[in-house]
Amino acid sequence: MTRRRAGYEGIAVAVPVTVPYVRYSIRGAHWWIGKAMAELCRRGRVRKEEIDGLCVASFTLTPDVAVGLTQHLGMTVRWLDHVPLGGGSAVVSLRRAARAVQSGDATIVACVAGDANHVDSFRLNTANFSLFARDAVYAYGSGGTYASFAFLTAHYMRKYGATREDFGKLCIAQRQNALKNPNALFKKPLTMEEYLNARPLATPVHLFDAVMPCAGADAFLVMRSEDAEARGLPWVRLLGTMERLNSFPQDPVQERGGWVLDRDELYAQAGVKPADMDFFQAYDDYPVINVMQIEDLGFCAKGEGPQFVRSHSFTYNGSFPFNTGGGQLSVGQAGAAGGHLGLVEAIRQLTGEYQGGAVKDAEVGLVSGFGMINYDRGLCCGAAILATGKRVP
């Protein structure tokens, strides 16, 4: 019997910020993060000096780590964390920041993720991603994440009967959602024909199965709910979270994530069930991972994902609102901010600070993070359940 974890009473998550994405930019990560910080201060009605906690995620901050930003942006903080977990960084940043505020170690924590994107950025990041990737993956074709996820996708399709049309349906729905999002880099609808006929990257992964890397930043603040109230900010409650690293190492090919191990406790901590979710912002670097998250976070059994996809609709106004802003697949992936994209969208839906299609009467939502293909599988899985604290009037 595991000891019951503490909840997140008294915590508020607020001020969803996105610095509009650009495909290529000559600006470095410090610029994007600086812009996000400025916007947090402006929209959050806080002075920079009042922010005493900083949590940063970025792939392109080198040679700096988070502490470099304190001096770069002229901030003095009493709590600092650098979260290098890729798409898992948002949920993990939230977990860290929430505990810091709860314990009193910090009062207002800025959680920021931002990345530069130059024409050669992705190759450079991929070539030196991790020790195992450099020793045992990149020299084999140098296909980057396309190849890594191709293995997972091919396996999943073969074992559970998923088809390219199943994945295409999710991509098309997300594109629909993106059309309403002014920040999305993709502006045109996607048809099944276009999806299926797109050029292959690493079979069975094709062009529209992959995100578009871009430059950008996303951010939010974590504080006590009474501070959010005092500042007149719309805010969101944190009902429950989980994180799990390197789960199921015995699985020859990854087909499930750490969510399987912790989802029951997550929902118990939040006091809700999967069916109570008004939306799901999943980490969508590839559609196969979307399906995996739908299964692993309890919406259906393992292997029933394809059937679930066929029997639901995923637009923001569909039967299963999913990546309601368009997700990374249609908005773009700003490096380590890929996971923050979904968390920020969740805050928007729950407070009414919409930036695109609105999920009707959204009160409770699920956000999931995934990332860090250290070798042959994503090591980091995280999830958070959020609920409306206060909407915009």
């Binding site: 450099r134 020793d135 045992a136 084999y140 296909g143 293995f151 091919a154 073969r158 292959p200 690493a202």
Partner: protein, 414 residues
């Protein structure tokens, strides 16, 4: 089904020659254990001495019990292909130029999962495969999953050929064909499908046994070559250097003296002039052109072979000055390897034990026959290895040397 290789058409002389590119070359020190074994044609992985778990990727602590007592052990490479992909995109020039490229994810019977290049004849997953450790064009270990059983024309697989140095349809220079070894090499290469073998021989006025048989082979072109003559080497390189795909330097001056039993330095100097400086001259004159032709079509420049000696590792005092000259050549051959790597040209260093020839006449067997050595070299080219220790004596010396080099030094100088 692998399409068998066809003889390439003559190269169009007015077209630019594609420059060599290489797969990513950076590896951690611990991962170089894989390369060290692949250099000898062996697939090794770390196995925990405490709990027996096999590790991959290479690492510093056992993934099962955290022990740091990890030892590299040979593997049979058998396993199951659990997933695969055909790459149509790559971030690196080498693979971009060779798309599409087939990759597989293999679960070895001994446990670990690995990513490997995938042979075209392997059936779609799930299926049984055998994983080999080859050397890629960057000179690093590359795991290659092939069918468990040999398939027709298996060596001609487009991806596998990037790891090997097959003489088929290639042009080879053998620097000394006066000796039985040189002639056996010529014969073996012709049998392996070489299109043209330039047979070098020094002091052409000393007509040698086997000369007439060599002349009869249609693929053979006899050329005067004295590796002690810089002018000769330079002029020959000017004539044929741009066409040599494989260079086998077996020129050797072998006498059987140590230090005290031969007054003067003349004999030792003659050994150095052929065995060490000969290599240097050849490398200076033939190296640059070969390096620039590492990606020059199907019959690209692909390998440089040095016939050294197991005595290069530890001096054999009865042939002391000869051993020293081979040690010098061994060191220089390592230098050559570093210089040729950017061109994707493999430097294969061969360390035979005593060859069954006139200068080893008084040594007791086992001795390596020239024919057996030639076959081993040809096989090593087909496999793409870079360190070859052919024959029982060489294998035993190597084992003793790796185990405790000082003990070997004493054992052979008793």
């Amino acid at each position: 089904m692998t399409t068998p290789l066809e003889r390439p058409r003559r190269k169009n002389p007015i077209l630019r020659t594609r420059q060599p590119t290489a797969p990513p070359a950076v590896r951690s020190r611990v991962a170089l254990g894989l390369t060290a074994a692949a250099a000898r044609g062996v697939f090794e992985l770390q196995v925990c001495r405490d709990c027996g778990a096999t590790q991959y990727p290479p690492r510093e602590a056992c993934r099962a019990c955290l022990s740091e007592r990890l030892a590299w052990k040979p593997q049979d490479g058998l396993g199951q292909l659990v997933s695969e992909t055909m790459l149509h995109h790559s971030y690196e020039l080498f693979f971009r130029e060779r798309l599409p490229w087939r990759l597989g994810m293999v679960r070895l019977d001994c446990g670990p999962v690995l990513i490997a290049h995938l042979h075209g004849d392997v059936a779609p997953a799930p299926t049984r495969v055998k994983v080999h450790a080859c050397l890629d064009k960057a000179g690093q270990a590359a795991l290659f999953a092939a069918p468990e059983k040999e398939t027709p024309n298996m060596a001609d697989d487009k991806q596998l050929r990037e790891m090997t140095c097959d003489p088929k349809f290639r042009k080879v220079l053998v620097t000394d064909t006066k000796t039985a070894l040189g002639q056996a090499l010529v014969k073996s290469l012709v049998e392996a499908g070489a299109d043209l073998v330039w047979a070098g021989h020094a002091e052409p006025w000393k007509k040698f046994a086997g000369f007439d048989e060599l002349k009869k082979l249609p693929q053979v072109s006899l050329l005067p070559l004295d590796v002690t003559d810089s002018k000769n080497v330079r002029e020959l390189a000017a004539e044929i250097g741009g066409r040599v795909d494989i260079l086998i330097n077996n020129a050797e001056h072998h006498r059987t003296y140590g230090i005290a039993n031969r007054p003067g330095v003349e004999t030792a100097r003659a050994e150095m002039d052929v065995n060490y400086f000969g290599l240097l001259r050849l490398a200076q004159e033939f190296g640059p052109a070969m390096r620039s032709r590492g990606a020059d079509g199907q019959s690209s420049a692909v390998a440089w072979v040095n016939i050294l000696s197991i005595y290069a590792l530890t001096n054999f005092p009865p042939h002391g000055t000869f051993s020293a000259s081979k040690a010098a050549a061994h060191s220089l051959a390592q230098c050559l390897r570093a210089e040729m790597r950017p061109g994707g040209v493999r430097v294969l260093n061969v360390y035979p034990g005593p060859i069954d020839d006139e200068w080893n006449q008084t040594l007791l067997p086992p001795k390596l026959s020239p024919a057996a050595l030639a076959r081993a070299v040809t096989q090593a080219l087909k496999q793409g290895v870079e360190d070859l220790y052919p024959g029982d004596v060489a294998q035993e010396w190597l084992a003793r040397w790796r185990d405790n080099p000082k003990a070997l030094e004493r054992e052979i100088s008793v």
